[in-house]
């Protein structure tokens, strides 16, 4: 730490912000495992301090000309030098604030949600581990540090998904999540190594600078961009590696709210923002990203149409919104992606927390069940839910509308119109699936006689659902705050754009936006909501989606486009029964077999030779004579 860290306030704030959750994690794990109250208090206290530091950093550096970088020597090995430190610039400060705010709120919320759960101190320990990792990832000055915390975030998600480890499905989901993200990480690690080979070090500022483009050939640049994008696919559950996110709903709802909607999965998009100039240098990587973003957005929204589990719906919506952000970024509209990430974090966390309250009180995830059990009676959560769903659908006054609009404008500037059409179709679907559960819960059909589908992800709560009012209000306050955020964030677009725009970033500056785009956007949103109302809200609606009418399509979407079957087949057939069985046989039969064969062979020859020695005396004399004659004969050769 070159600069004496005590005197420089920013550095002090950055250190406090990141390292406090780590201290609370260590203290809780080592000492206060058996006292839930103390451990909860500790981690919330630590979180509040880091929240304050994050906000302090944000407003102190509101007007920032150039990024601040502090780096201390951590590990030196020959030519490779891995520093540890902080890189504070608008991108990271905004993300730090988002993570801090939502983290703090969810920690308060989970006080109520997790009350009575035996492993509560373990829960808070893992939460603070996650927050430490996420915040250090956000402010990482080098790709090394970012990769290290990228893995740690993956680890904490594994621990939190598998929090109720007695349930087989929870541990299975945790394992699946970790392995899929780890596959992405491997690709990212390779991309990093390519850059390291050519650049010498991995500091983010140098990667973003044009110097790198000069050193690497365009082909290599694209390859490393694609590889790093592989990491983003893994972490943000994009097209090929998306099926782990819906399964990750096994974890407690606050975890889903914090990790698997707003912060952790957004790390991929954040990395994209962080290396935006680097990606910008390779156009085909951008088009590939665009394609992946669109594909995963459409697929996820189709899946959301049919599922009956409320948390799965929001999980699919997260995947599709992330697809939106990546489309926005890939289209060159830097601010649109960042802004949508912020707004999405707010309203998606709100959605999850509301459904959390519903699940917490009615003990079921199924939307029809929730409706029937009187979901409408809980006034505050339902209200916040509607607001958040509205923001998700992109209804005008809410923040979703503004951020999605920006993305659509970015897409409009692209030469090829197909991306814009897909985005618009996506917006329509989003609106439709956003309001489907709302209407089902608000207008339950007693006589619908829907078979009680045992949805795979019903979270059976074994702890007593204490409905005491204190818990209710503890969970209530964060909802209200988040609802407020979704309402007013839309209007903060201008100052944020100014704040983000300070660091001169390349990117397509939007020329005048066609007016018709704004209106089509509103019409599609309202149309989607209307269709949902038509099919689910109206008194005489059969509450059967237009998709469910076509059974083939229904099954296709319900089976997650058979992706899970493919992965199951691949891991089971190819890896388990195929390659490793082959290697195990090779190990036992070929290598071991040959060695045991050699040793058995020597023992057999031993037995043979010892039999040779049992012959008659005269054979021995003969043998002596013959050998001596042969040795004499050898003289002549």
């Amino acid at each position: 730490m070159a600069v004496p860290w005590v005197s420089d306030l920013t550095l002090l704030a950055a250190i406090l912000a990141t390292l406090l959750p780590l201290c609370s994690f260590l203290v809780v794990m080592l000492f206060t495992r058996s006292h839930p109250r103390i451990s909860a208090g500790l981690s919330i206290g630590a979180m509040s301090v880091s929240l304050l530091c994050a906000l302090f950093l944000l407003n102190e550096h509101w007007h920032m000309e150039k990024p601040l970088e502090y780096a201390g020597r951590w590990l030196v090995s020959g030519s490779i030098e891995i520093p540890f430190g902080f890189l504070l610039d608008p991108v990271s400060l905004l993300m730090l604030a988002v993570v801090a705010v939502i983290g703090f709120l969810i920690q308060i919320y989970s006080l109520g949600y997790m009350a009575g759960d035996p492993g509560i101190s373990r829960y808070y320990a893992f939460m603070s581990l996650f927050l430490w990792a996420m915040m250090s990832l956000v402010v990482a000055p080098t790709l090394f540090q970012l990769y290290i915390f990228w893995e740690l975030v993956g680890l904490s998600s594994y621990l939190l998904i598998g929090f109720w480890y007695e349930k087989f499905s929870a541990s299975q989901a945790g394992k699946k999540a970790f392995i899929m993200t780890r596959a992405g990480d491997v690709a990212m690690f390779l991309g990093m190594l390519l850059i390291l080979l050519h650049l010498g070090n991995l500091s983010i500022l140098e990667i973003d600078s044009p110097a790198l483009a000069a050193r690497m050939s365009p082909r290599l640049l694209t390859l490393s961009a694609l590889l790093i994008f592989g990491g983003i696919i893994g972490k943000s559950a994009q097209f090929p590696l998306m099926t782990w996110l819906p399964d990750a709903m096994q974890g407690p709802t606050p975890v889903s709210a914090l990790l698997h909607s707003s912060t952790m999965v957004a790390a991929g998009v954040y990395l994209f923002e962080r290396l935006f100039p680097f990606f910008f240098f390779s156009p085909d990587a951008m088009t590939f990203g665009l394609f992946i973003g669109t594909l995963s957005m459409l697929l996820a929204s189709t899946m959301a149409l049919v599922t009956r589990d409320i948390k799965e719906i929001w999980a699919y919506s997260t995947i599709s919104q992330l697809g939106y952000m990546i489309m926005g970024l890939d289209a060159g509209a830097f601010f649109s992606g960042a802004f949508h990430l912020t707004t999405h974090a707010a309203f998606k966390a709100l959605l999850f927390l509301c459904s959390g309250v519903l699940i917490h009180t009615f003990e079921t995830n199924d939307i029809y069940e929730l409706g029937r059990k009187g979901g409408r009676s809980l006034k505050v959560p339902m209200a916040c839910c509607c607001i958040a769903a509205g923001a998700l659908a992109g209804l005008p006054p809410l923040s979703g509308f503004f951020s999605k609009g920006l993305i659509l404008e970015g897409l409009a500037d692209l030469s090829n119109p197909v991306w814009l059409i897909a985005a618009l179709f996506g917006a329509f679907l989003t609106a439709y699936y956003a309001f489907r559960p709302i209407f089902i819960i608000l207008f339950p059909r007693e006589a619908s006689g829907e078979p009680e589908v045992h949805s795979a992800t019903s979270t059976s709560k074994d702890h007593s659902a204490g409905h005491s009012s204190s818990h209710y209000w503890l969970m209530g306050w964060p909802l209200i705050l988040l609802a407020g955020a979704t309402l007013c964030l839309g209007f903060l677009k201008a100052p944020l754009e100014h704040f983000m725009g300070q660091t001169a970033l390349p990117g397509v500056k939007g020329i005048g936006h066609p007016v018709w785009l704004l209106y089509t956007e509103i019409i599609l949103a309202v149309g989607g909501v209307g269709l949902a109302w038509m099919e689910f809200g109206r008194r005489c609606a059969q509450q059967v989606g237009f998709v469910e009418k076509i059974p083939a399509l229904h099954r296709l979407f319900a089976e997650r486009w058979y992706l899970d079957h493919f992965y199951g087949w691949f891991v089971d057939r190819v890896i388990d029964r195929g390659v490793s069985a082959l290697f195990t046989q090779n190990d036992h039969r070929v290598i071991d077999g040959s060695i045991d064969g050699i040793s058995r062979g020597t023992v057999e020859t031993g037995r043979l030779i010892s039999h040779m020695h049992l012959g008659m005396v005269q054979y021995r004399l003969l043998a002596m004579f013959v050998v001596m004659v042969l040795l004499a004969f050898y003289f002549f050769f």
Binding site: G78, S79, L152, Y158, K175, I179, V186, I575, T584, I595
Partner: protein
């Protein structure tokens, strides 16, 4: 006998404390098991303390050989009892100290034939310490065999599944390795014409021709490689680990496999650099196959110790890959990984040992939901499993990172193969953790109680070491660097 000691002979002090333990235990009567264990704990504690003191007393700025001890042993053949500490062998000495001390504590509950067990155990570890600190070819070979032959009685008498087959196979296989090493050492001794076994003198450039170096290197690499678990010769290690009692398999997998890798480094690479450059391609190929192979075969195993055995084959493959890249960071990574893997495997075996002592079964299928029954004991295993997967914040991540970095630089294809093994190793480790620790609690074991504090001490030490070197790798890396930079720069191009 002209003796040259720089201050108090710490290195010999380690050996003497081991041998003192050996002789005291021999003199104690068989019945007094408790006293034997206490003597064992005290002596191993002393060696650990000495190793720690050495580790921190080493003057990193000066580098080179320190704490030199030299005694003319057999002048006519140029054999000396020559011990020294440098960047390469101090981490290993520390590792042996730690694993030795925790190994003794892990075997605290042993009841049958305690005296013979600890006597042979001390003998084995004396061999291990001797080899790490020796700079004389003759003594390296002597200590190599001293550390090997107690293996047979240790495994054959106190072992578990298929112990006699395992013991015989292991001992014969490892001594077949020595059948390759001794001719190579003699070949070098004779070809050098200097009538000395001293590595420092034989190391000077120009003592051997290129052909001699190539010839000797491949023999030494195969000889020591067998012990290091190089790919085609690895089949003894899982069998040996399963058969051995867990205290022995801790030292065996934790330290003995490092002797193989250290032997390759200290003897083969020091004396035959051109041979190393010639055979590096083969080393890298075998190592990367070993990494993938160990993990994939581990997937199919049903016995907990087999799983750990194959995971150590894979990790030793990483060490081999590190050694094969002729870069400073590759070498640093390899030595760091030797240390990290040693501690991690020791923790794995010690926790499996605890589980085996309680449930008397190692089959993963029968175990299940142990995390509910004994959270602390399974916690230790999970930390070790995480380290095995290369999770950052734990020691072996840095080793793997550095090795894979430099491997990717010099051998791109093999490097990619090794890096992709990271994903499969995650699948492999998590599957084990999930089957044995998560999921519904197995009714048979519900009444088992968690590990008491007294038995938890060894595992706690190992966990703290993993975390300490996970968070502060530079502690170890600066030490290793003082030795690897001069070595790599000294290589003839």
């Amino acid at each position: 006998m002209p003796m040259e000691f720089a201050g108090f002979p710490f290195l010999s002090a380690i050996l003497i404390s081991c041998l003192a333990g050996f002789f005291i235990i021999l003199c104690l009567p068989e019945a007094r098991a408790r006293e034997i264990k206490w003597v064992g704990a005290v002596c191993s504690g002393m060696t650990l303390a000495l190793a720690i003191y050495l580790f921190f007393a080493y003057d990193k700025s000066r580098g080179g050989l320190q704490f030199v001890e030299r005694v003319q042993w057999i002048p006519s053949l140029g054999i000396q009892y020559f011990n020294a500490a440098d960047g390469f062998n101090l981490p290993n000495l520390l590792l042996s100290g730690i694993v030795f001390f925790t190994g003794v504590l892990t075997m605290w509950e042993l009841e049958i034939r305690v005296k013979e067990f600890f006597a042979l155990y001390f003998l084995m570890v004396t061999g291990v310490f001797g080899l790490f600190m020796s700079m004389d070819l003759f003594f390296i070979f002597v200590w190599y065999d001293v550390s090997l032959f107690p293996m047979y009685p240790l495994i054959a008498i106190w072992g578990t599944t298929r112990k006699e087959y395992g013991a015989m196979k292991l001992t014969l296989y490892l001594l077949a390795g020595s059948a390759l090493i001794l001719p190579a050492i003699l070949y070098l001794f004779v070809q050098s014409g200097l009538n000395t076994f001293d590595i420092v003198r034989l190391m000077q450039p120009g003592t051997f021709t290129a052909y001699q170096q190539k010839f000797a290197f491949i023999l030494l690499y195969l000889g020591f490689g067998i012990l290091a678990g190089v790919w085609p010769f690895h089949t003894w290690s899982p069998v040996g680990h399963v058969a051995a009692p867990h205290g022995v398999s801790m030292v065996h997998a934790g330290v003995l496999m490092k002797i193989g890798a250290f032997g390759v480094l200290r003897v083969a690479m020091f004396l035959c650099p051109q041979g190393w450059q010639h055979w590096a391609q083969l080393m890298a190929l075998l190592a990367s196959i070993g990494i993938i192979y160990g993990v994939l075969v581990g997937l199919r195993q049903t016995d907990l110790k087999y799983v750990i055995g194959y995971s150590s084959v894979s990790h030793m493959g990483i060490v081999g890959l590190g050694l094969s890249t002729m870069t400073v960071s590759g070498l640093n990574g390899a030595v760091f990984q030797m240390f990290a893997h040693g501690v991690m495997t020791a923790l794995l075996f010690s926790s499996v040992g605890y589980i085996y002592d309680r449930t008397h079964t190692k089959a993963i299928a029968e175990l299940g939901g142990l995390s509910r029954i004994m959270p602390v004991a399974s916690g230790y295993f999970i930390v070790a499993a995480m380290a095995g997967m290369g999770v950052p914040g734990l020691a072996s991540f840095w080793g793997e990172l550095l090795v894979l970095l430099s491997a990717f630089e010099t051998y791109p294809i093999r490097g990619t193969l090794a890096i992709s093994a990271l994903a499969v190793s995650a699948l492999f480790m998590l599957r084990v953790v999930q089957k044995t620790f998560y999921g519904p609690a197995n009714p048979k074991y519900v009444d088992l109680q968690d590990v008491p504090f007294s038995l938890g001490v060894p595992r706690m030490i190992l966990v703290t070491v993993i975390l300490l070197f996970g968070f502060f790798p530079s502690l170890l890396l600066d030490m290793i660097e003082t030795a690897s930079i001069p070595f790599i720069n000294g290589l003839p191009r």
